[in-house]
């Protein structure tokens, strides 16, 4: 008990320590820090301090100026991370409020401390820092991991909702506030229409950072999430454009005579901003995809290319006053498809994790800074303005949600229910974007700027805290449909079949719908884009890639757990069985892991789905063959044991084994894998099915110009084994058969015959299966003739 209580306190005490350091830093920053050194000097009085000329070499000295900026940045980031750690260590807090709330609170605390000790306003987040450094990583991550298909399926609704919603909100809030300001009693009559409109535009912007942070906990179904996320992304363009236009108007003092030309120019501006941003993003995405085509020898810079080009797209768009957020999102979406196929596996992982890390850091910093900025002297409180702002924000959002969705529901086959609309209404969380825009207001033109800032902060706090805390319970209360993320082959198959069915039916009925658009796009994609952008064009079906992904997952789990179990879990005493089986020795596990890491499948995410217009006459897919081989062995194995299903749980969970090992395997005798001696073991034991691996060994044992792939069957995995390319040099004749000569199939003789033989064996098993009637059992191959050879991995017992 006590220990658990201590744990959350640990980080908290560190937190305070860091805060103290920060304050020390901040205060010395605010004071003149030239004579900071004397007070910190130790007793050794060698140093000459301050203005005296140095007569002796100083042994210890302090130079704070030199490191000040990196020092403070690092401290801030550390502080934010510790706050986050503390947050997650506490058991009750994560369920109670989203992380962002806590970060704001910590920030406010720090700000209060700084303010209290110095009576000066703490450093405020500079708008340029926010827009140039903190915002891009978050948007990049959001765009990169966005599921593109639901997004494009709902693109019409999203555009309609985001575009019109932002406009309605901005003008509605602005006008209503203007009306309120007309009332003399509130003392706001110097705020004219343009100011109010401007304020409306900046307060109506929903912030993607805050929205994502709030919705992280509340998992809603994908369509809903797409709407919310899409809106957050897209309405940036609109509100920033509106903001800039209105600022321009204010500067020109033209608010008395705004002509229709200006309004038209404004509308044209929206379109240009949006489309231009997307255009640049797509261009940069293609460029970076093209470049990654050539990076196979220096895979270390692949993540760099990805990040730099995305950031570049953002900067270029911002230079031209286009929407940087849209640009970076479009870049990420475009890039992802092609880059994922080109980069190596490690680069892929690096990109993923680095992106997450960057966005996480940015997010924490943003919220902390917001908290810090609240404390200070930049405020002016006006009850009427603040309260009415808050009220109007909610009212107008409700109006826009319900009105717009009522209209768009007429055109959707799957309309959003009222519950969904309530959630969308509730998702209007404002964040640091609005705050920065408020801070950017030039004081000269806006004498009441402080009031705007205060009102913005109140709205932000309200939405983030109140709505953030209550969204989870609300989702549960309204019983909104949740996501079901089940990765199963069946689902993939059925979905795929459904797509084709629908496309076919639509074709028959002579309709043109977005399925056909999608089809046409894929056709174009295959014909032209992939030729240019992809390194080696490996057309893969998404079914196959999902399948391989699942298999790889299990293989890894196998290697890691090192549990030998034959079909034990289909027996009643599963747990016992697993205990009884022999454990792998650590070296075996190590060598298994070694082999796995070197020889794994190159499994990609779903890159392209099945497309009947696929024209690529490339080399054939080796991995498919591997799957076949492995399968057959699995069946053989399980048939030997007399049951049809070697495993009893859905794919993807831990217990599924694609390898089944025989019962009484003695300890692995050795790991020397050479072609030579294949000892025979009694016919009753199982041929241990193998894992076939694909490796991208850079040079490989086979000198091919490009990448080679070696298929390494791992029979009897628990025996461990060196990478089999040492020993399994066989069947070079496979090369020609498999076409292209770019890949080489290596198989040991024992189980894997030449290509045609596999099919033959496949056919035989089919005959058997049909011979047994509709009984679906694995192929049974007793006493299969192994041609007198077995895997070298099997040693004598």
């Amino acid at each position: 008990m006590g220990l658990q209580m201590l744990v959350p306190f640990g980080p908290w005490s560190w937190l305070f320590f860091l805060v103290a350091l920060k304050c020390g830093g901040a205060s010395s920053d605010l004071n003149e820090s030239t004579n900071a050194s004397p007070q910190h000097e130790p007793d050794v009085r060698f140093a000459a301090a301050g203005s005296e000329p140095a007569e002796t070499v100083s042994v210890f000295a302090l130079d704070y100026d030199y490191v000040q900026i990196p020092y403070e940045v690092t401290l801030w980031i550390l502080l934010a991370s510790l706050a986050k750690i503390g947050f997650h260590l506490s058991h009750r807090l994560p369920g109670l409020m989203p992380e962002s709330c806590l970060l704001i609170l910590v920030g406010a605390l720090v700000g209060a401390i700084i303010f209290g000790t110095d009576h000066k306003s703490p450093p405020v987040m500079d708008s340029s820092i926010y827009f140039l450094y903190l915002l891009p990583p978050i948007v990049l991550e959001g765009g990169y991991f966005m599921p593109t298909r639901p997004f494009f399926e709902n693109i019409g609704s999203i555009l309609w909702w985001a575009g019109l919603g932002a406009l309605i909100n901005a003008f509605g809030i602005g006008l209503s506030l203007y009306l309120v300001c007309q009332v003399q009693a509130f003392g706001l009559s110097d705020v004219n229409l343009l100011h109010n409109l401007l304020f409306g535009s900046l307060i109506s912007a929903v912030d993607p950072v805050a929205v994502l942070a709030v919705f992280e906990e509340a998992r809603v179904n994908q369509q809903l999430y797409m709407m919310i996320f899409g809106e957050a992304l897209l309405n940036d363009g609109i509100s920033v454009v509106l903001y800039n236009i209105l600022i321009a108007f204010t500067k020109m003092h033209k608010f008395e005579d705004i002509e229709p030309v200006d309004i038209l120019a404004g509308c044209a501006r929206f379109i240009i901003v949006g489309c231009g941003g997307v255009f640049f993003g797509v261009i940069f995405g293609f460029i970076s995809a093209f470049i990654t085509r050539f990076t196979q020898n220096i895979s270390a810079i692949e993540p760099l290319i990805v990040f730099m080009f995305s950031y570049l797209s953002y900067l270029v768009a911002e230079t031209l006053y286009l929407s940087g957020i849209l640009a970076i999102t479009a870049c990420a979406v475009t890039m992802k498809k092609y880059v994922e196929e080109n980069v190596s596996q490690t680069s892929y992982t690096t990109i993923k994790y680095f992106m997450k890390m960057l966005s996480s850091v940015s997010e924490t910093l943003i919220f902390m800074f917001m908290g810090v900025s609240t404390v200070g002297k930049n405020h002016e409180w006006n009850w009427a303005f603040v309260c009415f702002t808050l009220a109007f924000c909610q009212i107008w959002r409700a109006i826009s949600v319900f009105a717009l969705f009522y209209i768009s529901n007429q055109f959707r086959t799957f309309p959003f229910s009222i519950k969904d609309q309530c959630i969308i209404f509730y998702s209007g969380v404002r964040g640091a974007g609005s705050f920065s825009l408020a801070f950017l207001l030039p004081l000269s033109l806006f004498p009441r700027k402080k009031m705007f800032v205060t009102a913005t902060l109140v709205v932000i706090y309200f939405t983030v805290f109140i709505q953030g805390i209550t969204i989870g319970p609300l989702v549960r209360y309204l019983d909104v449909r949740k996501t079901n993320k089940k990765e199963s082959i069946n689902e993939e198959l059925h979905t795929r079949l459904m797509d084709h069915l629908k496309a076919g039916i639509e074709d028959v009925c002579g309709q043109w719908s977005h399925y056909q658009v999608r089809d046409k796009f894929k056709k174009f994609d295959h014909k032209y884009l992939r030729k240019i952008l992809i390194r080696e064009n490996l057309p893969k079906s998404s079914i196959v890639s999902l399948y391989k992904k699942l298999e790889m997952k299990q293989a890894i789990e196998m290697a890691e757990t090192g549990i030998l179990s034959s079909t034990a879990f289909s027996m009643p005493h599963q747990a016992q069985r697993i205990q009884e089986t022999k454990r792998l020795s650590p070296e075996d596990v190590e060598s298994m892991r070694d082999i796995l890491t070197h020889n794994m499948y190159q499994v990609r995410q779903r890159t392209l789905s099945y497309n009947k217009y696929n024209l690529k006459p490339q080399t054939s897919e080796k991995q498919a063959k591997e799957i076949l081989i492995r399968r057959q062995n699995t069946f053989r194995e399980s048939a030997r044991k007399g049951h049809s299903l070697p495993w009893g749980k859905p794919a993807g969970t831990r217990n599924i084994r694609y390898l089944s090992f025989p019962y009484s395997r003695p300890q692995p005798a050795g790991r020397d894998v050479r072609v030579a001696e294949f000892t025979d073991h009694d016919g009753s034991d199982a041929e241990v099915p193998t894992i076939m691996f694909n490796t991208h060994s850079p040079t490989g044992s086979l000198q091919e110009g490009q990448r080679t792939q070696e298929i390494i069957p791992m029979k009897n995995l628990h025996r461990g084994g060196k990478p089999a390319h040492l020993g399994y040099q066989r069947n070079r004749a496979q090369e020609e058969q498999l076409g292209g000569g770019r890949r080489v199939v290596l198989r040991p003789k024992p189980l894997f015959h030449a290509v045609d033989e596999d099919f033959e064996s496949g056919e035989e098993s089919e005959e058997e299966a049909s011979a047994i009637g509709s009984r679906w059992s694995a192929e049974h191959r007793p006493g299969r003739d192994l041609q007198g050879s077995h895997s070298p991995l099997l040693q004598s017992k």
């Binding site: 198959l493 719908s513 009893g648």
Partner: protein, 187 residues
């Protein structure tokens, strides 16, 4: 419109059976005539295995199309379930080519091979393995842990329903245009 149609009782009957409105039936009839070249039936051009009808007439055409109508969410829960079941039954029959009420491994394999047949780089073997994997998954979902001697015959309709439980057939199996005035775009 429908009033002067010579076979308006037929239309009404079809309306009742399939649930389309008379406008939609008109539209589909026009399409049917276009496809069939003004013959009363469409011939099956592909020499498929037995089990596929060689000819379908307009009523069959409509019946099949009616499976793709979007589910009307204003209906009560029971009817929605019924509709869902109907759609899934249609899908089930697509898999189950010999109509014995079970999707056996063979049939499943055929489906997967068909699906992957357009891709010239995936051999038959891999399609088969995928089908096997899917079948095993289905078995594990439906039957749970199996005794060593048990065999899994095939996916029955109930099992099929179970598999599809998490997946949203309502959003997937409908064709959008059938809801509105159709715009014939022949190409």
């Amino acid at each position: 419109m429908g009033a002067t149609h010579s076979a308006s009782e037929e239309v009404r009957e079809l309306e009742g059976k399939t649930g389309f409105s008379s406008d939609q039936i008109e539209q589909l009839h026009r399409r049917f005539k276009h496809l069939s070249g003004d013959q009363p039936t469409i011939r099956n051009l592909r020499k498929g295995p037995s089990g596929l009808a060689d000819e379908i007439n307009f009523e069959d055409f409509l019946t099949i199309m009616s499976y793709f109508r979007p589910i009307d969410t204003t209906m009560d829960e029971e009817r929605v379930q019924l509709c869902r079941k109907e759609k899934l039954r249609f899908l089930f029959h697509m898999y189950d080519s010999d109509s014995d009420g079970r999707i056996t491994l063979e049939e499943y394999r055929n489906v997967v091979e068909e699906l992957l047949s357009g891709n010239p780089h995936i051999e038959k073997g891999s399609a088969r393995s995928i089908a096997d994997g899917a079948m095993m998954e289905a078995a594990s979902v439906c039957v749970g842990r199996m005794e060593p001697d048990q065999v899994y015959e095939g996916i029955t309709f109930d099992d099929f329903l179970k598999i599809w439980q998490g997946i949203d057939i309502e959003t997937k199996m409908h064709v959008r245009f059938l809801n509105m005035e159709t715009i014939a775009l022949c190409h």
